[in-house]
Each structure stands twice: as C-alpha cells, then as structure tokens.
Amino acid sequence: MNISTNNLTLGYGDFIVLKDINVTIPKNKVTILVGSNGCGKSTLLKTMARLLKPMSGNVVLGDMDIFQKPSKEIAKELAILTQSPDAPSDLTVFNLVKQGRYPYQSWFNQWSKEDENIVEYALEKTGLSSIRNKKLSELSGGQKQRVWIAMTLAQQTEIILLDEPTNHLDIKYKIEVLDLLKHLNQHEKRTIVIVLHDINLACRYADHIIAIKDGKVYAEGDPKEIVTEKLINDVFDINAKIIECPLFKTPMCITYQNLSV
C-alpha cells in the first residue's frame, strides 16, 4: 500500500502552514519528517492519517483519496500514534493494547481467536508480555510509549505513522523506541513515518528524510546524500559541522551558534 500527497495545502483558519506538498512515502522504508518547531511536520503527518482535513489537494492511500475511504478500512491499512496520547491511568497494558483490534471487531465479535493471537504478538514484540496486567500508572515513560506502539501494532497495518514518539523520554528509552521501530521495519517490512526533532537520531534511523521549511519541502532523500551544513543552516537556522558517525556511518551534526563562545 502506497501513500502519497497531491498538491496538499494545509492550514488552520486562513493561516496556511504548508502549500502544494507533493511527497510519496517510500514503501517498506523508515521515513522521518524533520523541520523546526511550527514548520508543519506534525500537521502533515496528521493529514496523511486523515485526522485533519486539507484546505486543498489530497492524500492518496493505495489508489484512493483517503477522505473517500471508510475510516475503519483505513485503520486496517494505516495506524497513527499521536503525540503524547492520554488514556485513563488505571487501565492495564492489556486493556489498552486490545483497543488496537477495534477496526476488526463489532459489538458481537469482541474477542476472536485472531484478536487474541495478534494482541499476544504485539505484547511480545514490544516486550510487554510479562507486565500485561500492570496499570498504566505503574509504568515508566518508555514502557508507556511501548504500550501505545503495541496498540498500533495490534491494528496490523502496513503503514505506521508516529508523531514525536520519543518526546519526553530519557535517551535510553528514545533509543529503545527507535530501535523497536527500525526492527519492525526491517523484519516485518512495515512502512514507518516518524516526526522527529532530533536531527542526529533522524539521520541514524531514517532511510528517507523529508525536511520542511517555510511551508515547503526543502529537500528529501537519503540522509547521507541530503544532510549538509547548508541544509541544517537553512532548515534549523543554526550552524553545524557535519561528520560521519563512527558507529553507524550516518551523518552527524555538531551544532553551534557562535564558535567563539
């Protein structure tokens, strides 16, 4: 299933955030959207997941405009994890992950064998099997985020969109979450799109980067090819020296405002 945008213009009220965006998300790859605060990367992600209506243009999922498709059918092909989502804190891990099966269920078919198997798989993949009966309030930030990711996994979709999935997490949990997403991409061929504001982590984990600036796509492509000192300066308005990461051989930015400090 391919997802792409077609002359997409997005905004709030009369205020235009993004204009005439044409991007195609590469299949079975990790795509990361980067840009400075308020550039519209989250808005773009939400629109691709039909959470926001575009002012003009459209999002095409498969061969259909996403707003022409029944929402439940989309939920079987594309999952979205919004930024820092909230749920009652006395729910258990199992309670929440189970909700990912919603698009496949009905009021008289609430827990099929398939639902059970897939929730089991999602819990196992995210390392939550042993703490399935814990309440959300008893979990660490990293565990909580894994619960939400497990819920999107239970949706069994080819495409997963995530808005800042590492927000407010310690570096250890950031890496844990991103490693999990990379694993899902490599071993299960899922198409993953992430909004991330850490450019160095973006370079490490992305197969494809889309950099947004002034309501337009500034550049897109393999981070090794497109991430340059000029890009960092133009997109993030900060100076940078780019070196090769000794571990992952990906571009690494050392940012500075003024060398004489």
Partner: protein
C-alpha cells in the same frame, strides 16, 4: 489469559475480566438484599423471609398490601432512578473524558427542574392553589425540559464537531441559566408551590406507584441494552480524539449518540425522581475503584451501584426521622460520599503498601 473469561461461538466472541465478573455478581446480590431490606423496613416491620414469601405468593392481607402495593413500586422506582443516573453519569464521563462530569453538569437536572416548575406554574389554579390537571403529567414536562437542554448544549457547543471542553463549558452556562429561571418561577409562584417545587428540586420518590415503574422500567431496559452495545465506542471515546479517529471510529457520530443516550437515561430519572444529585457522579467512580476504567466493567456496575445507593438512601429517608418522610435527594450524598471516601483511603493505603 487466566484472569479472563472468553466466550466464542461462530462469529460471536466476548471477553470479560474474571475479577470484574465476580464483583458484578457480588454487587447484584447486595442490590437484591437492599431491595429486600427496603421492603422489610418501615412503619410496620416485616421480616425478610416473610417479604420473600409475600413477593412470590402475593396473597391478601395488610402485609401483602404494604409490600406489594406500597413499598415494592417505590423501591423499584428508587432502584431504576439510581441505575439510570449511575449509567448516565458513566456514559457522560466517558464522552467528555472527564471523571468529574455528571448529568447535572451539562444542565440536565436544572433544566428538568425548569420543566417541572413550568408545569406547576401553568397548571396551578391561583384561587385555591390546586392543580388543574393531574400531577402525573409533571414528569412529561420535566423530561422535555431536561432533553431540550441537552440538545441546546450540543447545538451551542457544535463548531465543526464538538470538543469535550466546549460541551462542559456550555453545559455549565445552560445549567446556570436554568437555575435562574427556576428562581424566577419560584419567587413569582404561589406560596404552596414553593414547597412542592423545593421537594421536586431535592428529589423524591415519595408516592410513586406501579404506573411509574411500568413507564420507567422499559425505558431504562431499552437504553441499558443500547448502552451495552455501545460499550466499545465508549472505551474508544475515552482516549484522545486523534487515537480514536486513527482506530477508525466515527468519533463525532458516536459522541452525539452517546450524549443522547446519557441524556435520555438522566431525563427519565429526573422526570420521575426529580433533581437527585450525586448518584450520577459517584456511582461510576465507585465502580472504577472496584474494577478499572474499562467501560465493560464500569457500565453495568454503575447501574447496579447507582441503584443500591438510591435504595439505601430511600430507606434512610423514610425511616431515620420517622414519621417524617424526607426527600431521598438529601441522603444520596450522605450514603454515597462516605463509601467513596472509604474507597479512596483504602486504595491509597494499598498504594503505600506497594500493591
């Protein structure tokens, strides 16, 4: 999987937590016991065993009359009113994603009062302070008042969809306006009317009979079944809207339907029982403390716990200051609040012990 009950047959499948099922059964037994207690206690004490006998065999005589004609309908009305309010509150708390929501916060109770007072104003003959038509029509007016209020709240809150925050804010405004109208009507009404109005606003099941039961019972049962069908949707509504839409739920449509369900339940209760407060707020909370926020647990349990609170409150209302028969609304908070505080303290201690 050991803590889950799973039932599958063909394309049908259901799941329930074992612990919640147990709590549900225990609550049901307590509920039945409260009903029997309510039938037993009163001016004339009739033993519970005798009550059971009279219920099943009917029979003639004064005891049978007291149990089957006087106490039973009143107890059942109390039960149904409490169950409706508990369920209504649970639904509303899910829809607005806020555990402090209750039917009165979006103006249902206050607007029901307006309906009841409009009835009293229109049909009280100022010459002799008597009603010109039967008091039986008052519930119709109360119902209309409550239901119209919810529609007004929804319409005013609508702006490319309804957000929970706007619903609450507009609801509080409408409730405030309704209170003002109530005051105007009371101040300008005849003197006799003040007592009647005040009684109604506090909430009472005094003088209810089998007619009330036959009206309220099917209303409640029908709405209860629809609510159970919508349990899944409530679980979804309780999360962020972004997540709900992402899961493929028609969030707006379901929000409207659930609001209507909540309003219909509360309006039915308000129409018969008046402005009973606290049950709709506290019953769902007690259920969450006993189980968790999953609506499969909260919904059926809220109805039962709401019913228990009302039945026990009514026992207190008509016996504590006997021969005074006080409005039950005075006692709902008195019974519900201490139990809720107890649960809060208990769960705090459990946390400290590290459970």
């Amino acid at each position: 999987m050991k803590n889950l009950l799973v039932a599958r047959k063909g394309r049908m499948s259901f799941i329930y937590e074992k612990r919640s099922a147990l709590i549900f059964v225990v609550s049901l037994l307590i509920c039945i016991f409260s009903i029997l207690l309510s039938l037993s206690i009163g001016q004339k004490h009739i033993s519970i065993l005798k009550v059971i006998q009279l219920l099943f065999n009917g029979g003639i005589g004064s005891d049978s009359f007291i149990v089957n004609v006087i106490r039973l309908p009143r107890t059942l009305v109390a039960l149904l009113v409490g169950a409706s309010l508990g369920l209504s509150g649970a639904i509303l708390q899910g829809v607005v994603k806020n555990p402090l929501a209750a039917p009165n916060i979006i103006g249902i109770t206050d607007s029901g009062s307006v309906g009841a007072l409009v009835f009293l104003t229109l049909f009280t003959d100022p010459k002799n302070n008597a009603l010109t038509i039967s008091i039986f029509y008052m519930p119709l007016f109360a119902f209309a008042g409550a239901f119209i209020a919810v529609l007004i709240v929804y319409l005013l809150a609508y702006k490319k969809g309804v957000t929970p925050y706007r619903l609450i804010m507009i609801g509080i405004a409408v409730a405030g306006a309704a209170k003002a109208i109530t005051s105007i009507l009371i101040i300008n009404g005849p003197v006799i009317f003040i007592k009647e109005a005040q009684l109604w606003i506090t909430g009472t099941v005094y003088g209810t009979n089998w007619t009330h039961v036959t009206i309220l019972l099917p209303w409640f049962l029908a709405l209860f079944i629809v609510t159970l069908i919508y349990t899944r949707e409530l679980n979804i509504q309780n999360m962020d809207d972004g997540i709900s839409v992402g899961l493929g739920s028609s969030v707006e449509k379901n929000r409207f339907l659930l609001m209507i369900l909540s309003a219909a339940l509360a309006s039915g209760a308000v129409a018969v029982g008046g402005g009973i407060s606290f049950v709709g707020l506290i019953a769902p909370h007690i259920c969450r403390k006993l189980t968790n926020s999953s609506f499969g647990n909260v919904l059926p349990l809220s109805a039962i716990i709401g019913g228990i609170i009302m039945v026990l409150s009514d026992i207190a209302a008509r016996t504590l200051l006997f021969p005074l028969d006080l409005p039950v609304g005075i006692f709902t908070a008195g019974i519900g609040a201490p139990f809720f505080v107890y649960l809060l303290l208990k769960s705090q201690r459990a946390i400290r012990r590290g459970f």
